[in-house]
Amino acid sequence: MTALGVAAPERLADLKRRLPTGARLHFSVLALVLVVMAFLPLVVPESALPVAIRTLVFAIMAVGWNLMSGYGGMFSFGHAAFFGVGAYTNAYLLTAFGVSPWIGMIVGAGLSAGVGVLIAYLCLKYKLAGSYFALATFAFAQMFLLVTLNMEFLNKSEGINIPLLPEESWSMLQFDQGSLYYYWIPLVLLGVAVAVSISFVYSRPGQFAQAIRDDPTAAESLGIKVMKYRLIPVALSCAVTAVAGAFYTQYYLFIGPDQAFGLHVSTDAIIPAVIGGIGTIWGPLIGAAVIGPLSAVVAGFLRDPPPFLEFLYGTSGLDIAIYAILLILIVVFLPKGIYGTIRERRRK
């Protein structure tokens, strides 16, 4: 064996104390954010709640997407596939067998991870990278959409309705309209998703995955099994995204092919992450917090414009056009996303 020295015990203890600072800091921030966010519904108007919930769903998806595309370096343009698998698994198990959505969520996550690993394995095996990888994942999402349209047991284009229950039920994840549980549950799910991200990023497989993202050749030369550690973040990513899909179904009580597998689902996962900062823990959250309410805020502003902008009232499409302009500007002028750019500035 080599003559590399073995660490002295006291140094080891010292390092142990120092080591998880990054992770520990992130966990503390997460706890703080969750606590603050938990009280948010008490200060915002009730009408903002649906927007807040949709934003939380975006955030979970973006955190999921970020695991694969940010930390894993594989740009997925078809995360709708994994969202949809989660959504449909939950809907189908519930309506066909009366399975609790909580179990449906877990089964969906598992299934989605499996599907994701298979797709990513094929793409990597055939050495697709960059735009080609993105287009291949996109094509798979489209194929899922088309297959669902032709699946009798998934109700084809009609989609699946989650039956309304006579009363609230924790086990069936159904509450009254406007119940704050519909806010707190995705908040907790988001918390779990971020916690998974943090743990993964600082774990051995997570470190390997990031090394591979930075330089696969160098990583391989250091003994890392490249395929294996590429597929781990893919699996996690798909599972997290599927959870968002399952919750979506429960909250909206409906899932159809377009809601599950449409192109906009994939972009809903990507845009917050890119806006916030790819490959960072907090980027997807910040991006979702900006993008989620943006279109609602712009629309609200135009519904009740200040006098000098009165002429804009009722112009349909204007709210989305403004949203589009903001999106373009953020992407063009904040190359690393909001959080990524701030972090970079701070480092300098």
């Binding site: 697709l128 080609y132 489209q142 032709n150 112009t315 302009i325 999106l327 992407v331 063009v332």
Partner: protein, 318 residues
């Protein structure tokens, strides 16, 4: 050697297509007039796809931009033609000639003000998101100006003719011919003109091009402009047989990507062959598969091509 490989591919694809159609005639259990009509329809639909894909293959092939605004730009061109026809009463095919330079200017502007800022980026997520934003912006601006009610551009040459016992719509034939002309025009521009040579040089080796004195970003802007101008022609030729709504182009965006990857990035002949092939595949497929079945066939083939020949039929071997 590559030329012969390309030749083999064209020949192979042609043989597969002919054999496939022959098989449908012989064993498809369909009326032969129906099959003939389907093939003619498929060819004409292929012409439409070619038109939509030509601009994209330039933009994707040379600039590497996954342009998700392709459909929206198509709609923009259609409305441009609509506007000229309805306000000035000019012949729509004359309007096409006018819309092309306007779209060129638009494309040039997009590339030089937005995209050129992103070109140094290693990732491709940002150009993609910008085009996504652009697509939203264009279609909602169209909505604000023209409203969402379907509009139409009357073709001065409405009617149909018989081809081999099949009926073909005249505006669609014009579009098909237009597709071949635009493809031919692009090939001539790329092969014979100094600009085309510079575009190909930039695509082949950007550093090399800058070392012979090419302002690469300017060529990028010209390329996006040229791509947009092709879209301009496409929109104009499609307008007479399309109901104009702001989202009219959206259904073509994904198919255009399939065609461009199938044909090979940046390959105009590839887009030509790929577009016609997909048009045939879809229409002949619809004889046997209901609803979205043919589309599933198309995407299935797309994934196979990505896996087995990612450089596309006409792409150079890397």
């Amino acid at each position: 050697m590559l030329t012969t490989e390309r030749g083999r591919i064209v020949l192979g694809l042609f043989a597969i297509t002919v054999l496939g159609i022959a098989a449908v005639y012989l064993f498809g259990g369909k009326d032969s007039n129906l099959v003939t009509q389907t093939v003619v329809t498929g060819l004409l639909l292929g012409g439409v796809y070619v038109l939509v894909s030509l601009g994209l293959t330039l933009i994707f092939g040379v600039l590497g931009i996954v342009n998700f605004a392709q459909g929206a730009m198509l709609a923009m061109a259609m409305y441009l033609v609509y506007f000229m026809v309805s306000s000035a009463g000019i012949n729509p095919y004359l309007a096409v000639v006018l819309s092309a330079p306007i779209m060129f200017g638009f494309g040039w502007l997009v590339q030089s003000t937005l995209m050129n800022r992103l070109i140094t980026d290693v990732g491709h997520s940002r150009p993609l998101l910008v085009t996504l934003g652009l697509s939203l912006l264009i279609s909602n601006t169209l909505l604000m100006i023209f409203g969402g009610r379907p509009l139409n551009v009357p073709s001065p040459y409405a009617g149909s003719v018989q081809i081999l016992g099949a009926i073909a719509d005249v505006p669609r034939i014009i579009a098909f011919v237009g597709a071949v002309i635009v493809a031919g025009g692009l090939i001539v521009i790329l092969r014979k003109s100094p600009l085309g040579l510079a575009i190909r040089a930039v695509a082949a080796n950007g550093t090399g091009a800058s070392l012979v004195g090419v302002n690469v970003k300017r060529i990028y802007a010209m390329t996006f402009g040229l791509g947009a101008a092709s879209v301009g022609v496409a929109g104009g030729l499609l307008a007479p047989f399309t109901s104009l709504v702001p989202s009219a182009g959206d259904q073509f965006t994904t198919l255009a990507f399939v065609i461009v990857v199938l044909g090979g990035l940046g390959s105009v002949p590839g887009a030509l062959v790929g577009g016609i092939f997909i048009g045939l595949l879809q229409t002949v497929g619809s004889l046997f598969l209901p609803g979205s079945g043919p589309l599933l066939l198309v995407f299935g083939m797309f994934v196979l091509v990505l896996f087995l020949r990612p450089q596309g039929l006409f792409g150079a071997n890397k």
